[in-house]
């Protein structure tokens, strides 16, 4: 990978309050989120050099759903804009790459998803191999349970540890105004609950969420001009691996490890990691792949277990990691995003504050 990349920072971010079922349309709840992120960045909307969005047609069952989302950006007069059918974290990656060119100095990124209209267990089988998996209707929770069992059998996690992760996430989420599942929970009481899809109980699963996240990026000079404490993108990388779960060792995340190496996670200690661990057992897999020690605070926002706005949840992790620097005074954090079943594709973004 080539070096001498330009410094780019996160200078604004905003999220929607995640809801199980938003009465507003995706555009309607995206609208104030974009406005708020722009306001925080102090960059006038018309000065934004590049806009990039992440969303998914199948979530709401509407072909070209992303076209409507242009209305939330204010694409008149015309703008320079692109879209990925991926989590907004990859839109951030595309925008970060675009900012490496010399002609623009700011970018707006957003991800949004309204999961409430559909039935996720019925939609997501379409995301798997159309010949050997889709017709079996294997849903995300079942895939996750296959992975969790493999991890339990390998002795790499216990059901108690999984419940502890859920309890910690929900407790931490009490301080997160955007979170959906919050509160104090007793681990023994959680473990007394029945399995949903064994070995996963309800607390091991993410909620179904409607939500959005927007982030504003700027190159070095611009960031310093408008922002007191920018969150510098020190490294960002993403990798994919084999699709069929039977081709992978489900107890590790090779693509996360490769992305972490590419993003330079191990160069210096990380204080906070916001991970798209949408199931409890994925947290230890990701911790190991990222090389995070026990001293690293994971998901102080409550993470994806507290709110899972698909297509925005990864970008929201990066926004939360940036918040730790901008508002929390931390010096080095990371955000993680994932796509596909059992962590098939992963993105890692390392952020730093000025010391």
């Amino acid at each position: 990978m080539a070096s001498s990349l330009k410094d780019v920072a996160i200078i604004g971010y905003a999220q929607a309050r995640n809801e199980r079922q938003a009465q507003q349309t995706e555009v309607q709840f995206l609208f104030p989120v974009i406005n708020e992120a722009l306001e925080m960045s102090k960059i006038p909307r018309r000065e934004i050099g590049f806009t990039c969005a992440g969303s998914c047609d199948y979530l709401s069952g509407q072909t070209f759903a992303f076209v409507m989302n242009l209305e939330a950006v204010g694409a008149w007069p015309p703008i320079t804009e692109s879209h990925v059918e991926m989590d907004g974290a990859w839109a951030l990656y595309e925008a970060w790459v675009r900012l490496q060119h010399e002609d623009i100095d700011t970018a707006l990124v957003f991800g949004s998803g309204k999961s409430s209209p559909g039935v996720p267990a019925e939609i997501y089988p379409l995301q798997t191999d159309p010949y050997t998996l889709t017709p079996l209707g294997v849903d995300p929770v079942s895939f996750a349970a296959l992975q969790a069992r493999a991890l339990l059998d390998a002795g790499k996690v216990t059901e108690r540890q999984m419940a502890e992760i859920a309890a910690r996430s929900r407790r931490d989420a009490m301080k997160n105004p955007y979170a959906q599942v919050t509160g104090e929970f007793d681990v023994d009481e959680l473990l007394a609950q029945p399995y949903v899809t064994a070995p996963l109980r309800k607390h091991d699963l993410p909620p179904i969420s409607d939500g959005a996240c927007a982030v504003v990026l700027a190159t070095a000079d611009k960031a310093r001009e408008v922002c007191e404490r920018p969150a510098w993108i020190r490294g960002i990388d993403h990798r994919i691996e084999a699709h069929q779960p039977g081709l992978r060792d489900l107890t590790v995340s090779t693509s996360t490890r490769l992305a972490a190496e590419g993003a330079g996670v191990g160069d210096r200690p990380v204080e906070v990691a916001e991970l798209s661990a949408t199931f409890t057992h994925q947290e230890p897999i990701l911790r190991e792949a990222l090389g995070l020690g026990d001293d690293v605070a994971v998901n102080p926002s409550g993470g994806a277990l507290a709110a899972n706005p698909v297509m925005a949840v990864g970008l929201a992790r990066i926004a939360e990691a940036a918040k730790q620097i901008v508002e929390g005074g931390r010096s080095r954090t990371l955000g993680h995003a994932t796509s596909g079943m059992c962590l098939q594709q992963n993105l890692v973004c390392v952020l730093e504050g000025d010391s």
Binding site: G61, L136, F143, L146, R149, Y195, P199
Partner: protein, 154 residues
């Protein structure tokens, strides 16, 4: 297809999107599904391994994998499993069952399929399973209705 119904006192519209997609299968998936129709499970050689379900390309190098396919199984071993206590209408069975990664005898990779074990208590990692074939087969992955514990425990 649309109609209105109240959802927690909110007005809502419902919309069903339906389509019968037709998929062409190519030189590897086609023979694999032909094998299933004929009651045989086939894998493909990939260097020193046999991949099941067969892949068109080496997942590590990207090189094309060449038929002919090789027969595996039909019995195999459960590598990991998930107990589905409430099946969805898209699932292969309408009663509680397991999804499992099953490594078939002679294969080096495991395939995802359903296991009809009757009860979660009958499931364990490492158990031996064998396919239950559908009476009328069409050349689809669900020509195997599911796997069942070897020896007919279910």
């Amino acid at each position: 297809m649309c109609s209105t119904r109240a959802v927690t006192e909110l007005q809502a519209t419902t919309h069903t999107i339906e389509f019968p997609y037709t998929r062409t299968l190519g030189p590897v998936i086609g023979p694999f599904l032909t094998g299933l129709r004929d009651g045989r499970i086939l894998g493909i050689r990939c260097r020193d391994r046999v991949l099941v379900p067969p892949q068109e390309y080496d997942p590590e190098t990207g090189d094309a994998l060449e038929p002919p396919l090789v027969e595996v199984g039909p019995a195999g071993t459960v590598e990991t499993w998930a107990w589905v206590s409430e099946p969805t209408r898209k699932h292969p069975l309408d009663r509680p069952f397991a999804f499992a990664l099953v490594k078939l005898d002679g294969a080096d990779t495991a395939m995802v399929h359903a296991v009809d074990a009757g009860s979660i208590d009958a499931m364990r990692t490492g158990m031996r399973v064998t396919p239950r074939w559908r009476a009328e087969r069409k050349g689809r992955i669900d020509d195997i209705e599911c796997f069942v514990p070897e020896g007919g425990a279910a």
